[in-house]
């Protein structure tokens, strides 16, 4: 009974204030600036309690943009492994979802899900901040349903 209550509080806390970390896995920067734009006054993702963190050990959600390049692949795995459970990955942008225009390039592995499991896909080239907010909120709602 006590464990159940603690779990409930944990999920509640996670939903009310998910901490994110952003990692560019080889993107063209367009999605990255849109992620930052989502955190600045016009869109203000922080009103959902979202906080951008600098280290994977503090983060609940890994926000990835871009197709995975060969050089970045081991780093992506390492960052994912450094995060504590439960962890979620959001693939932001068409490239992060499938490889996009870069699929077929020799230094590209493909989408994020070719390397690590992904919980939410947000397509777009680039993703608009509105879509990022929508995607994040949908992920949070799905956590709420799961509890």
């Amino acid at each position: 009974m006590a464990i159940k209550a603690v779990k409930k509080i944990l999920t509640w806390a996670r939903i009310k204030s998910p901490w994110i970390i952003h990692f560019n896995t080889g993107a063209c920067n367009a999605c990255d600036i849109e992620i930052i734009a989502a955190l600045t006054p016009r869109y203000d993702l922080e009103r959902f309690g979202v906080l951008l963190k600098g280290t994977p050990r503090h983060a609940d959600v890994l926000v990835c943009s871009g197709p995975v390049t060969k050089e970045v692949e081991p780093r992506l795995k390492r960052i994912y492994e450094q995060m504590v459970e439960p962890k979620f990955v959001i693939a932001v942008g068409t490239c992060a979802c499938t490889g996009g225009v870069f699929s077929g390039c020799y230094n590209i592995k493909g989408g994020i899900d070719t390397v690590i499991p992904v919980s939410a896909y947000i397509p777009g080239c680039p993703v608009s901040p509105k879509a990022i907010i929508d995607g994040t909120v949908k992920l949070l709602v799905s956590l709420e349903e799961k509890k």
Binding site: K70, E71, G104, C105, Y106, N107
Partner: protein, 148 residues
């Protein structure tokens, strides 16, 4: 006479072997084809004498049995000259220009990594732009190299 024609004439006067090797592509664009043996002196004359002192980039080309390199140089007035030189594909090296143009270092590394060119005198340093464990002898920009 336009500036471009002036430059062309001046070059031919100094280096008679360059006749028919210089082409004015359009205003502010010159294309120059020079043999590797004479490259150094022509390059010296252009960069010092004619003040083409701004190195924009070095392009590497795979032209069947040879590798070609285009040195894109610009003058302050906006005129740009593309100096092209070629080497046979196997075992021929070009000399580095990174002594005089430090910015050439990355461009030359790119030629080494992507095209398999040999550059003499390139300073030690990490490779660019491919990963460290990239298989040896695989050069993506070669025409016979296909993306798998």
């Amino acid at each position: 006479m336009s500036m471009e024609e002036n430059i062309k004439e001046g070059l031919v006067k100094n280096f008679s072997f360059l006749e028919n090797k210089i082409q004015v592509q359009r205003p502010r664009r010159l294309l120059l084809d020079v043999d590797l043996e004479r490259f150094e002196e022509v390059f010296e004359y252009l960069t010092k004498g004619l003040k083409f002192g701004h190195l924009i980039a070095i392009t590497g080309l795979d032209e069947q049995d040879k590798l070609s390199f285009i040195y894109h140089m610009a003058q302050d007035g906006g005129i740009m000259i593309n100096i092209k030189t070629s080497v046979p594909k196997d075992n021929f090296a070009i000399k580095t220009i990174s002594g005089r143009f430090p910015s050439a270092e990355v461009y030359e590394r790119e030629l080494v990594d992507l095209l398999g060119a040999k550059v003499e005198g390139l300073p030690e340093g990490s490779r660019y732009p491919l990963v460290d464990d990239w298989p040896k002898g695989q050069f993506p920009l070669r025409k016979d190299w296909k993306t798998k």
